[in-house]
Symmetry: C2
């Protein structure tokens, strides 16, 4: 059982930040982030997520035309913007990632299963990124408010990755936060049988 400080940092007091202190995110922090999130479980260890970290002002400017209006300022000012994407051909890595069986064959001839697996497990890995960021003392600001097709054109035209969602990373300054919104109760969201 983690202590209350850790549970607060991961879940209870962590917030999606909208405004950033100028403190940068270091090379070491990005590597530590990946070296944690990579251990999160995925189906057949498929690990379909791919992460593009936009660190330069030039890279963020390429993203600008794909962002919803309400997400532009906080994204342009974030120290790092992560594009959480997935590789639709993730199964080509399975001979290495899942050497116990011919898992590549489960997906290579079944585009519908491959797409569902890539999206589900790529999304799980995006959540692991959010949790890993919080675990190493970074704030995360996940967003779906952008044009996925446009991001794919801008960043992935050659390699064929698909964008899923965005996560601003840095140290939030706490301004521009809504009051905490309510959550569903256990009885509203859960059932026991």
């Amino acid at each position: 059982m983690l202590d209350d400080v850790a549970l607060d940092a991961l879940f209870r007091t962590a917030r999606t930040q909208n405004s950033w202190r100028p403190a940068p995110v270091s090379d070491e922090e990005l590597r530590a982030l990946y070296d944690l999130l990579k251990w999160g479980p995925t189906s057949a260890n498929s690990s379909p997520a791919r992460f593009v970290f936009l660190r330069s002002a030039e890279a963020r400017e390429r993203l600008r035309p794909a962002l919803s209006a309400g997400n532009i300022d906080k994204t342009m000012s974030a120290p790092v913007v992560a594009i959480v994407a997935y590789d639709p051909r993730f199964y080509d890595e399975l001979p290495k990632l899942f050497p116990h069986a011919d898992a590549r064959a489960w997906f290579a001839g079944n585009p519908e299963l491959a797409e569902e697996t890539a999206f589900r497990n790529g999304t799980l890995q995006g959540a692991y990124l959010i949790m890993a960021a919080r675990a190493i003392g970074l704030d995360a600001g996940p967003m779906s408010g952008f044009d996925r097709a446009r991001v794919d054109e801008i960043f992935f035209a050659e390699r064929g990755w698909k964008s899923n969602f965005l996560v601003n990373l840095g140290h939030g300054d706490g301004t521009g936060l809504f009051d905490r919104s309510p959550r569903l109760t256990f009885g509203e969201a859960c059932e026991e049988l």
Copy 2:
């Protein structure tokens, strides 16, 4: 920054367990689990995930015919099996969950956006459940090897929820584990721009 014990428990030494000690999962643990995971971020606080905790032998028997053969034994013997599902009509809760704007209208007339949002954010919440379980000292065994349509027929015919994936919960005994499988390196899964 969390300490190494916490980072190990969440990411580095946590394993998907296949065999369980008889120790039960208590009412208090299930509520603590939900009371952590509910705080994880979702798009417009949409919170589309729904969780059905199968605790009785009878409930697990209802699940049996939908399971892949390789998942039957570990699932039938798990203290709790969570069906991670989502409510396709999650947007009906938005006037309460996101009172800042008429967010219900963004989804109610756009079935494609609603489905994508429910699946993505319901999956994020499933990952928060895995992380919250580990945070409170439970082991989690997530699985996609089952017939989703059959589970929906068996458990959700009336209320219309959709199954996403399953998570066995309990205290693993460490038997039946593969050696740790490799992960993609930072250079294979990440790009910096």
